[in-house]
């Protein structure tokens, strides 16, 4: 009991620090989801035939509706985080909201009989989103009459695909404890480790800027490409120059570059712009968007975002 209390207190201090640090900057949203391995082990997968290839994806909705243990673990973590002023998005509620929003959009009609405009890409984006996904896995080990729980909690940045926090381990074996009790103990035992690594990630973010991903693409109707020369330099090089000038300490990596696309990873952007306004990937890329719109380029382009940490600029159209 004392151990549990200590754990809770440590976690509270961690999160209080984390919360005050985020009082100005844009807060990343966090959501817990069961991992693919857990879903597969527990039979919560949907199998599709994708033009000859069998594809399995997690059926989160079914898992939330049918697995009481999952609900217990998520609610425990949600509760502990919320107590410390850092509420998480509840995936189950998000799924329900998405379903009702989809139904409302289908029914929404103007007085003139017009429906809501929704492009395929809009529809594709209608999924549960968070800046950080807490991926949850646990397995129950049985050794004779003893039971123990191996618990793994991974914090994944949705945009950079990096694991930014982790907590994993196996609890003490027990003769008598029920599975929910073992799971509860595992959550309490691992949450402070997880928050430690999360805090490290946020500290790094304040020091070196938010890490984002920027993609440059082109519409096939645009006659130019990223190899087109502007003032004696290829457009891709011009974009790289702008990135070097505008990122924190000039830090970014050009992962891919062809005539039709560019991919920038590990792009470090400031948390605030020069006016002191908190910015995210979209705010940062607006600068590049305007830069490309203006002379000598004069390129009409479209800016699309995905949460705080991913933005795509498509050249040659709106």
């Amino acid at each position: 009991m004392k151990k549990v209390l200590n754990t809770v207190l440590i976690a509270a201090f961690m999160l209080l620090g984390l919360n005050s640090a985020f009082s100005q900057a844009k807060k990343p949203t966090i959501m817990i989801l069961p991992s693919d391995v857990w879903c597969n082990t527990n039979g919560y997968m949907i199998e599709y035939d994708n033009q000859g290839t069998k594809v399995k994806v997690s059926d989160y909705k079914k898992a939330f509706q049918e697995n009481a243990d999952l609900l217990l673990v998520i609610s425990k973590i949600n509760g502990l985080m919320a107590d410390r002023g850092f509420p998480l998005k509840n995936a189950e509620s998000v799924l329900k909201s998405l379903a009702s929003e989809s139904a409302e959009d289908a029914m929404l009609t103007s007085k003139e009989g017009a429906g809501v405009s929704e492009s395929p890409i809009d529809k594709l984006k209608k999924s549960a989103k968070a800046d950080i996904i807490m991926q949850l896995t646990w397995t129950v080990n049985t050794t004779g009459p003893k039971k123990s729980v191996t618990f793994n909690l991974q914090g994944l940045d949705s945009y950079t695909d990096k694991q930014i926090a982790t907590a994993a381990g196996t609890g003490a074996p027990s003769f008598s404890a029920e599975l929910p009790v073992l799971l509860e103990e595992a959550v309490l035992a691992h949450l402070d480790n997880f928050n430690n690594s999360l805090q490290t990630h946020f500290n790094d973010m304040f020091e070196n800027g938010r890490e984002i991903i920027v993609r440059i693409k082109k519409f096939d109707s645009w006659e130019n490409d990223l190899e087109t020369d502007y003032e004696g330099k290829e457009l891709s090089a011009q974009i790289e120059d702008w990135m070097a000038k505008n990122t924190v300490k000039g830090r970014f990596s050009t992962t891919d570059a062809t005539a039709d696309m560019m991919l920038f990873e590990q792009v470090r952007i400031p948390l605030y712009d020069e006016t002191g306004k908190a910015i995210d990937a979209r705010g940062f890329c607006k600068g590049l968007q305007n830069h490309l719109k203006n002379p000598p380029y004069g390129i009409v382009n479209k800016l699309m975002m995905k949460g705080l940490g991913q933005a795509t600029i498509v050249l040659g159209g709106k």
Binding site: S58, Y60, K61
Partner: protein, 318 residues
């Protein structure tokens, strides 16, 4: 003088509006051609609901472009083939399916499996399952797309060419059918020729009256024999009523009409002798009247066509 001018002006205005009404009321060539809508079963994994949706779209395209969508003669069809060019399944919550479909529309001879014209359009759709994704993609097909005009125009021209080339064969087949006492089918075959194929239509209409006469003569003999049998079997009031019901449907233009009259007189005389009452027999007034014979021929054809089982087998165009 002034009044006269006003009257003349009114007459002039009315004559213009009358001539415009005549033009507007005249059915276009295409309006007198009809296509059957057919979506084959072998389209790649297409859900049943989506198939119905596609059939509905085809019907809308046909009618929006001024052609009949309910074919009396189902030889000529509008059909579609759907190729899935891309299919993606996202591992999101909920999982999304994104499709790119190439929908190729065809107009052609369904019996021969011969395409007259085709038009391909690409559409994209996203949904939480295969059916929703297909429906979203098919919803994007704009039935008002002006490109359908030339596609349908080309198909229409080929249909007219077909009738003009096959006219003698159609007439020969109809005469053969009439020789086998299949008068309704023969008339259906001849009246199914659209009146837009003027040359062929005139040739067919010249043959129909003779076959129609054969039909009513044949029916008259059959009905007379049946009425005679009924009367001879009973020689009572009830038998008279049954025989009368059959005699009433005999066309006055048929060759044996006088014989049927003789029988009805015989029945009336005998009833008076035996039953001591007047037999009130009347021919169907509608049958004996002078009427629009072309409409009468067409009605025979339509009745035959509607009575046929809807299990026509088409050959695929691809």
């Amino acid at each position: 003088m002034k009044k006269l001018n006003i009257v003349l002006l009114l007459i002039f205005v009315m004559s213009i509006s009358f001539s415009q009404a005549q033009t507007a009321g005249k059915m276009s060539d295409k309006g007198r051609l009809a296509l059957a809508v057919w979506v084959p079963d072998q389209i790649e994994n297409m859900p049943v609901i989506a198939k119905k949706n596609l059939e509905n779209k085809l019907m809308q395209i046909v009618t929006a472009n001024g052609m009949g969508g309910d074919a009396m003669n189902s030889r000529f069809i509008i059909t579609a083939n759907v190729m899935v060019t891309t299919k993606d399944i996202t591992a999101t919550a909920p999982p999304m399916q994104a499709y790119t479909l190439d929908v190729t529309l065809y107009i052609g001879d369904g019996f021969e499996g011969k395409s007259f014209s085709s038009y391909t359009t690409t559409c994209k759709g996203v949904g939480e399952n295969e059916t929703k994704a297909y429906n979203a993609a098919l919803k994007a097909i704009k039935t008002s797309d002006p490109n359908y005009q030339s596609f349908i125009e080309k198909g229409k021209t080929k249909i007219i060419e077909y009738y003009n080339a096959q006219c003698d064969i159609i007439i020969k087949e109809a005469k053969t059918l009439a020789g086998q006492n299949k008068f309704d089918e023969a008339i259906w075959k001849l009246t199914a020729v659209p009146d837009v194929c003027t040359e062929c239509w005139n040739k067919c209409m010249a043959v129909v009256p003779a076959i129609f006469q054969q039909k009513i003569d044949f029916e008259c003999k059959t009905k007379l024999l049946e009425a005679n049998n009924l009367w001879n079997a009973g020689q009572s009031w009830d038998a008279a009523q049954s025989a009368g019901a059959i005699l009433a449907t005999i066309d006055p233009k048929s060759a044996c009409f006088n014989e049927s009259k003789a029988l009805s007189d015989k029945i009336a005389k005998r009833i008076k002798e035996v039953d001591k009452r007047e037999w009130d027999f009347k021919y169907d007034k509608e049958i004996g009247l002078e009427r629009d014979m072309i409409k009468a021929y067409r009605d025979v054809g339509v009745a035959y066509g509607n009575g046929q089982p809807q299990n026509v087998t088409y050959k695929s165009f691809w």
